[in-house]
Symmetry: none
Subunit: 191 residues, 4 copies
């Protein structure tokens, strides 16, 4: 679906993604109709379905691109165990793409975005780490990591004026990154 050369297709999909982001900023996901997306994109209604099977597929596409970029930036830092820098980098990245993140996290689309992020993180992790024990603990911690970060960021996006990026990064580091890291080093006896 991504490797298409026809200029019209590229243009249309671009317009649809833009429209989705724009609308997601304004209303919760399930209040966004396909008709509204198509209209906003300046595209015929049926044309939407020629490119995406449904709303969620479009959202997943949008999320996919965003997360891919996000991970390219954050993953290296996590690999280097520089958690503080990683947390800082996250918050900066979010600030830079404020509009899109607001749309995707503060709206009702969190579920889809989280799922997509989990999926991609899995892939990235699998690609970088040699051995993948993939025990239940790893699975649980990855899920917690992604979910908790997304939750904290979504809170932040609704309270940007109250907390600075630096503070937010510290909170993420101390309440998520570090505890998870510790638990990994010293797993519960039952596991």
């Amino acid at each position: 679906m991504s490797t298409v050369s026809d200029a019209r297709i590229v243009r249309t999909r671009e317009a649809l993604r833009k429209a989705m982001i724009a609308l997601a900023e304004e209303s919760p996901l399930d209040a966004i109709t396909v008709r509204a997306i198509a209209a906003r994109a300046g595209v015929g209604y049926a044309t939407f379905f020629r490119h995406y099977p449904d709303k969620d597929a479009l959202l997943a596409d949008v999320a996919d691109r965003l997360i891919r970029e996000f991970l390219q930036r954050v993953a290296p830092l996590l690999q280097d165990k520089d958690r503080a820098a990683a947390a800082r980098s996250m918050c900066d990245f979010v600030l830079e793409h404020l509009a899109i993140y607001k749309a995707l996290l503060a709206g009702g689309s969190g579920e889809t975005v989280r799922a997509e992020m989990l999926r991609q993180t899995m892939i990235t992790m699998a690609a970088t780490r040699k051995r993948k024990p993939d025990g239940p603990l790893d699975d649980l911690m990855l899920f917690h990591l992604v979910s908790a970060i997304l939750n904290l960021l979504s809170w932040w996006l609704r309270n940007l004026s109250a907390v600075s990026a630096a503070t937010m990064a510290e909170v993420i580091e101390r309440t998520v990154l570090t505890p998870v890291s510790l638990l990994r080093k010293q797993p519960p006896v039952g596991l």
Copy 2:
């Protein structure tokens, strides 16, 4: 809506709540139609709307009752700072009401339940604590606490066989309760 004496009303609402829980176990929330709920409850379609304005109101009612009970059990322990016992109590409680929790958390209804739980926790906290500074940190930590716990529990409900209640409790304590507690005692400098 709650203080009604007519036996028929009590009976009908009870049936609707039961039906909602039963259906939530089987399918994601937005695949549950009001018609299906009414049918399952053995109640006329229009009757549904005589008791709840819409699907979400019913779900909120169900969640409300569950969370009320949940908090009655967990809150005291948190007040007493016995985090390990509190975590343990949570997990036990979830195990006891497995079906309902599976329905409400592992389904697509997480968002509503989380919102309801946040709301009620706020109220409970406000009632027990005298002084409520309610700075952004408190707000953020409460949000994180509730969200993270619900997320961890919902993962657990999908992986019950992999992790025991004791282990799960330890995980919750070490990755959520303790870090949050520490952050509260020693807030980031920016706050």
Copy 3:
């Protein structure tokens, strides 16, 4: 479908039939949209499908009622072998219900109407005649009878000013009723 007591149903179907006839006078059948029928009937779009599976079903219902009345008038005469009177009666009947016939025959709906008329004539014949040989000749002649009459009438409806009812009746009698009757009395040797 016909024996329903609910007043709303009766009212709605009545309105739909009226609307169908009105629109059929104005435009060919396949230029009539279900939306237009519903709008004209002052009825919701979806409501249409609660009563008829599609446009043709509504048309068939309209035709059914018309043909039932038509046959009640013409059949006795045919039984009595008074072909001239039967032909005359047909033409008079058509004149009396000019608008509806124009709608049903001169429009593009001939196919459906013819099918319905064939079906009903079959039933009527079967009910009145004791023995029903139903050989291929009977089948062919019945088909020819109905088709030819409908064709002649539809031509007449488009050329009302050119030919009187009496003349038209004579034409029908001499080119359809009598030849068919003769052929029946003295079938081709091959049958």
Copy 4:
């Protein structure tokens, strides 16, 4: 549209006509999509519209060629007043081109074919006969003649095994050709 020399154009149109006939054998006319015709003809979708403005135009072209041939064979006999031979010739001709006739008459395309046949017959008649009074009677009888014959033939095509060509010819002669001829010799008084 007809006087074109480019070999590719001839080839494409030929392919489109073949495809139309093939598809018309399999499904009713309005279930045949332009896409299906183009695909069957091994031709691009848009290419269809470079040769015919729409589906009906292609069908009319197909019918036109068939009817032209048909009339060349039948008309002389009608001119010679040899009605029996004419009827016989018709039936033989239909048998020889069974597939195409089945496609055009027994399918849902009867209406278009009939219209085309009427048009062409008019032209042929006008060409052969010197004086063309063209009163309403002539018009009516021509319409009846064409319609009734097409109807009888289409019935026959659906019941080939039941009736021989000779019998069918006799039926056509006795129920259509002769009655029409008689009526012409001795018109109703009203005309």
